[in-house]
Amino acid sequence: MLRLEPRQTTSVQMQYATPVIAGVLTIVAGIILFSSLGVDPIEALYTFFVKPLTSVYGLGEWALKATPLLLCAIGLSVGFRGNVWNIGAEGQLTIGAVCGGGIALAFYGDEGPWLLPLMLLCGGLGGMLYGAIPAFLKNRFNANEILTSLMLVYVSIQILGYLVHGPWRDPDGYNFPESRLFDDYGLMPVLLAGTRLHLGVIIALVLTGVIWVFMSRSFQGYKVTVAGQAPAAAAYAGYSRKRVVLISFLISGFMAGLAGITEVSGAIGQLVPVVSPGYGFAAIIVAFLGRLHPVGIVFAAFLISLMYLGGEALQINMKLPLAVTGVFQGMLLFFVLGSEVLVRYRIKIGTQAREA
């Protein structure tokens, strides 16, 4: 029997070394994978990790794709530190897109420079209110927030689907399910000509800093951390558990909602039936990959973003099928997360494994 036993102390050197070890293992496994497929492994690795970043456009895309991941993950990390499990960032993101996008459609033909800030605000608030639902259910009825927040994802997708198939359908769009294109006032300003990189990435980085300060400097942030690390101590100190749940959900909901509205007012430019290819879920991985620390999360968001771009590049430039790129992406995550686990836990081979 194999079991994992928490280590008494985690080596500081190893904490810095694991990403390197994981990287080396990924490269070795990648060489084996690509060679066995008859593909030049060096070229494949170059295509996956470097090629996407060799143009200004590619760099822009890298940051563009990292933006919603970063926004969602940094918000989620607050709750995860406080032992509050918001699994529904995808839903809050979707509702953020609906609320912010709804503003753009409501004021169609009547725009001004005030439109985008209003959209961002409404998108964030929409996600926040949607996040408040599982928090309320948790605090009022003690409903498991993992389940309720996850189930609300599916509700949100139905709401968006109903709107773009029905009342918000582009009147000139032959009944196809998508909204009008937003007016220019409803679009994120592009930061770098020739790319799609927009203001959203700046917003994400600034808010990352704000949350960092909140968690490390504010009393409320401290309460969240204590609630996560030592629930009994938090209760003894009189910190309200309910308040921690609510604050965690409001922050992560707001951030996810903001991710949603920056997506639709950024690269998409209209409401469509699916606004996110699963950023809200991938952000959970990003948050843990970044060890719930703001700096780590920034790195993790960019790594996962590169992983998406690299997967596409392997398909386009090396003509490898999606299945192979998927296997390679899986190996990368396996090594990174696996070595994380081994830094904190040791594998014990023994018979006295406790029954689960």
Partner: protein
């Protein structure tokens, strides 16, 4: 190779039949290879929408040999990512790019503006540009014929239809199918279950089983998996496939399938690009153009039914029969197309009612 093409403007008039000769290989040997990109909304898989596009891509490789090379990108989400993938294909030297899902329309148009020398063809959309064509097939013609098969085969006179979203394309298919059913069996009725997903084998199967439990002995679908064929096989009823021949998922159950065949269109488009004569077109071809075909009949389809289908097919190809020949009544009794004319393309493109013979009300 002769392909009749339908040029579809807003009013979708048939501009005419055009002849395009396959370029003589000897004349274009000196040219460099044409790189062709395909953007797919799902993995290729074994059957379905993307699989049919990929079959025709392989046909291109077979026909053109080393004069072309093809690249596919699978499972590209219809959101912010599509634009990047299309752009990367263009930047990587692809001279012709097929974007094969509706959600790629705006991204295709955006990228096409930045790459005026690249030819784009977008499947199922309505926006075009100088270097962006659109193409689609008159799937409803195949639907009509499969309706004839279903109407002739059913004994319970209840036929089930699992459908994705109530957009005109899907509604048109349900209506054409029902017109086919009723043309041979005026007592049969079609029941529709909407599942709000293009691909969800679990929901598709559940919906098929609901319909079967309500007495349906033939089921069909406008979704992308093979689940309903398998459900029919397991429940001892019949199924009609869509997109692809799905007979191997239920050999006894499978009656036939209305399949998409993009070979002619793709070959023709590649020829035009190789010859440097690519134009922005809007192709909406049907049975006559080989863009829609019925797959082989299963054992449960009688010779008599096969003969009727062959006859109707010939009539559609020759233009003597239109699946929506007036009078067309909706299922509340209102006349939508008067007797004496058949439906216009514009009416087809905006169809938002159920025809007579369908139970229930179309979700709006």
């Amino acid at each position: 190779m002769i392909i009749r093409r339908m040029f579809l403007g807003m009013s979708a008039a048939l501009v005419g039949a055009s002849l395009l000769m396959v370029a003589d290989p000897a004349t274009s040997q000196a040219e460099e290879e044409l790189k062709i990109g395909f953007v797919y909304v799902s993995p290729v898989g074994d059957a379905g929408w993307t699989y049919q596009h990929d079959l025709s891509r392989l046909e291109l490789e077979a026909q053109f040999g080393d004069r072309v090379s093809t690249t596919i990108v699978e499972s590209v989400p219809e959101g912010a990512d599509a634009e990047r993938v299309i752009r990367q294909l263009a930047a990587d030297g692809h001279g012709l790019i097929f974007t094969t899902s509706f959600g790629y329309m705006n991204p295709t148009i955006k990228v096409a503006r930045q790459f005026p020398d690249v030819t784009f063809a977008h499947c199922s959309g309505y926006k075009r540009a100088d270097n962006v064509s659109t193409y689609l097939a008159r799937f409803y013609e195949g639907r009509y014929l499969t309706g004839v098969v279903a109407g002739s085969t059913t004994e319970s006179n209840v036929i089930g239809y699992v459908a994705a979203f109530p957009i005109p394309e899907v509604v048109r298919g349900i209506n054409a199918f029902t017109r086919g059913v009723r043309s041979v069996n005026p007592d049969a009725e079609v029941r529709v279950v909407w599942i709000s997903a293009w691909y969800d084998p679990g929901k598709e199967r559940e919906a098929a089983e609901t319909l079967i439990s309500q007495g349906a002995d033939v089921v069909t679908q406008h979704t992308d998996s093979t689940a309903i064929v398998q459900a029919a096989q397991d429940n001892g009823v019949h199924a009609i496939g869509y997109h692809s021949d799905m007979s191997r998922y239920g050999e006894e159950a499978h009656l036939t399938a209305s399949t998409h065949v993009w070979d002619n269109y793709y070959v023709e488009t590649v020829n035009a690009v190789l010859a440097g004569e690519a134009e922005s077109t809007n192709v909406w071809g049907g049975l006559a153009d080989g863009m829609v075909e019925l797959s082989a009949f299963g054992p449960a389809v009688s010779a008599e039914t096969q003969a009727i289908v062959a006859e109707r097919q010939a009539a559609i190809v020759s233009g003597d029969l239109h699946p929506f020949e007036g009078p067309v009544l909706d299922n509340e009794g209102t006349e939508r197309v008067p007797a004496g004319r058949s439906i216009t393309d514009e009416e087809l493109l905006s169809m938002d009612y159920y025809v007579e013979g369908i139970q229930g009300r179309l979700p709006q």
